[in-house]
């Protein structure tokens, strides 16, 4: 019997009791495992945003037509984006507030680009359950703090789009953007 075991590789080889077949087994299963992972990766990754979706991941916005006190609603990554030019009075109102009293403490400076404090660029997505707040359109309700007002559950944002009242936990998100000229920004 011993000779048969040696021929088919199932007999003990060496002092540690590891057989040649154990090595072949582990090597074969590991190799198949690596192959399986290599196949699963593209199967999972195909669910991520495709190139055409990512191509829309940045948006250029022309600011020249926005007068002080006015705002526009556009889209960035297929979600609403608010761009607003604040009036000096609105800036003063935002600066007057002590940030430490806020739910999500931030100053207007931290939420705008240096030297362009009048340009407030935020996502138009309420941080509560994702509704689109009012206040960017002409004559829409801006809530009691003069910024934006979410009609779904009554969250009120101030002139720096910071949460002041209602269920939303955070300020309206400020996306990454930069000024490409004095009157244009590139978002994303």
């Amino acid at each position: 019997m011993a000779s048969v075991e040696q021929i088919d590789g199932t007999g003990p080889s060496g002092e540690d009791g590891v057989r040649r077949r154990d090595f072949i087994n582990i090597a074969a299963v590991s190799f198949a495992g690596v192959g399986a992972v290599a196949v699963v990766l593209p199967l999972v990754d195909q669910m991520n945003p495709s190139a055409d979706v990512l191509a829309l991941a940045s948006a250029e916005v022309d600011l020249s037509a926005i007068q002080p006190g006015q705002a526009i609603k556009t889209t960035f990554r297929s979600q609403p984006l608010f761009v607003r030019q604040l009036t000096p009075k609105e800036i003063a109102e935002a600066d007057k507030v002590d940030p430490s009293t806020l739910r999500d403490p931030q100053t207007l400076e931290e939420r705008t680009v240096d030297g362009k404090k009048q340009w407030l660029v935020t996502m138009g997505v309420c941080t509560h359950l994702g509704c689109v707040p009012l206040g960017a359109g002409e004559g829409e309700n801006r809530g009691e703090f003069g910024g934006y007002f979410c009609p779904c559950h009554g969250s009120s944002y101030d002139t720096a789009a910071r949460i002041r009242k209602g269920p939303a936990p955070k300020n309206l998100e400020v996306p990454k953007y930069s000024f490409t000229s004095d009157t244009a920004i590139l978002v994303g």
Binding site: P49, T75, R77, Q79, C131, C152, P169
Partner: protein, 430 residues
């Protein structure tokens, strides 16, 4: 897999004998849902809902496959093709209303099926696996129903998809990449719609597969019954066919009448009018609500409004909502009472009905706007839901003194009809 006194499959026709030798499929059916499956003789009408759930799945698959023939899974045309199905396709309105209301009826019968199991202790040994597989089916149903609701690409479809996938966004660090991965974009769009359609078509067949496992696991110990006393002999059972095929057939008739009343006279009663407005990413409906069958869970989700240490309220709500279902997987080990049926458990019985009322209240609150006093009520009701399973049930199992059990199923049946059978009465209760 069956009791020794089960009737044997003996094909008489030579063709059937030939088939039985090559592929004993008729034998399998005979032993599963034919005369070869002995069933306790005392099942009441609450035992109809398993078969009714199967019927509801068949209705969904038939109407769904037909609707897929007329549907365009593209965000530019999806809404239009659904309206075209409603207006232009022959009997398209019937298919769509049957599919939409069929989903509601599927959940109605499944909820009754689940509460039947909760009351009569069907989840207890030796049927734990039946219960666990049933919960897997329930989770698959929820995923399927959610994705199906997105397909018409109306306002509630779009914003429902946004809110529900946003739940994953609440998970720290990996949340947002997961949300983007699920949607195939930064907000619901064409990629999301297509993958939801593909999975919505696939999952019902996965459900059908798990149902086969569910029935397989059930047929190993055999069906439970309203007394919770195990079958002791041939006098306790009757063959599934013709006894329960007839009883289930009658139940199916009642089910179809109720379904037809809603389908033909109030097809939009359970729907939301906002879903007849095409999806618009720039405008939110005033009041986002999921379909009614998700309301109890939606109420638990929204019950958390305060951060707890470093865990944000939104994440707590998400965890609680998932926990409310995952909790049920541990039920067979939380309820340690050896008595199965709620009929013989006086304390459990009362708390069972309080739980039913609590879940109904949660359901009502889930459909209400997220403002006071509803939020506070949701918090109380959600807390009670968890307390029932984690505190009350283990305590009852420990301290309750159950009522005396009947000696056997036959004894219980005969006692109910005022007859006695010397032989079975003599069997001591234990």
């Amino acid at each position: 897999m069956s009791f020794p006194w089960a009737e044997q499959y003996t094909p008489k026709h030579p063709v059937m004998q030939w088939v039985d030798e090559k592929l004993p499929l008729p034998r399998l059916v005979y032993n599963a849902v034919g005369a070869g499956y002995p069933v306790p003789r005392n099942l009441n009408y609450f035992w109809n809902f398993g078969v009714l759930a199967g019927l509801a799945l068949v209705i969904q698959i038939v109407t769904g496959v037909i609707m897929a023939m007329h549907y365009g899974a593209n965000d530019l045309v999806a809404f239009g093709t659904v309206e075209q199905t409603m207006r232009d396709v022959n009997a398209g309105w019937l298919m769509r209303y049957a599919h939409a209301n069929g989903a509601s009826f599927f959940f109605i019968v499944v909820y009754l099926h689940i509460f039947r199991g909760l009351y009569f202790g069907s989840y207890k040994a030796p049927r734990e696996m039946v219960w666990l597989l049933g919960l897997v089916i329930f989770l698959l149903m929820m995923a399927t129903a959610f994705m199906g609701y997105v397909l018409p690409w109306g306002q509630m479809s779009y914003w429902g998809a946004k809110v529900i996938t946003g739940l994953f966004g609440a998970i720290p660090v990996v949340g947002e990449p997961i949300q983007t991965w699920l949607l195939g974009g930064f907000a619901p769009g064409n990629a999301s719609l297509n993958r939801f359609f593909s999975l919505h078509f696939l999952l019902p067949f996965v459900i059908a597969g798990v149902i086969i496992l569910h029935i397989w696991a059930l047929h190993i110990p055999g069906s439970s019954n309203p007394t919770g006393v195990e079958v002791k002999g041939p006098q306790d059972t009757v063959p599934f066919h013709p006894y329960y095929t007839a009883k289930d057939g009658f139940g199916a008739g009642i089910f179809l009448i109720a379904f037809s009343i809603l389908l033909f006279f109030a097809p939009n009663f359970l729907g939301h009018p906002d879903n007849y407005i095409e999806a618009n990413p720039l405008s939110t409906p005033a009041h986002i609500v999921p379909e009614w069958y998700f309301w109890p869970f939606y109420a638990i989700l929204r019950a958390f409004t305060v951060d707890f240490f470093f865990v944000p309220a939104k994440l707590l709500g998400v965890l609680a909502m998932f926990a409310s279902i995952l909790l049920l997987f541990f039920l067979p080990w939380l309820d340690t009472s050896p008595v199965r049926s709620g009929k013989y458990r006086p304390t459990f019985n009362k708390f069972f009905w309080i739980l039913v009322i609590d879940v109904l209240i949660l359901g009502w609150l889930g459909g209400a706007p997220a403002e006071e006093p509803y939020v506070m009520m949701s918090q109380v009701a959600a807390a009670y839901y968890f307390a029932h399973f984690l505190i009350i049930l283990p305590l009852i199992s420990r301290f309750e003194k159950p009522l005396p059990l009947p000696g056997s199923i036959t004894e219980a049946v005969l006692a109910k009809y005022g007859k006695t059978d010397g032989e079975t009465v003599a069997v001591p209760a234990e």
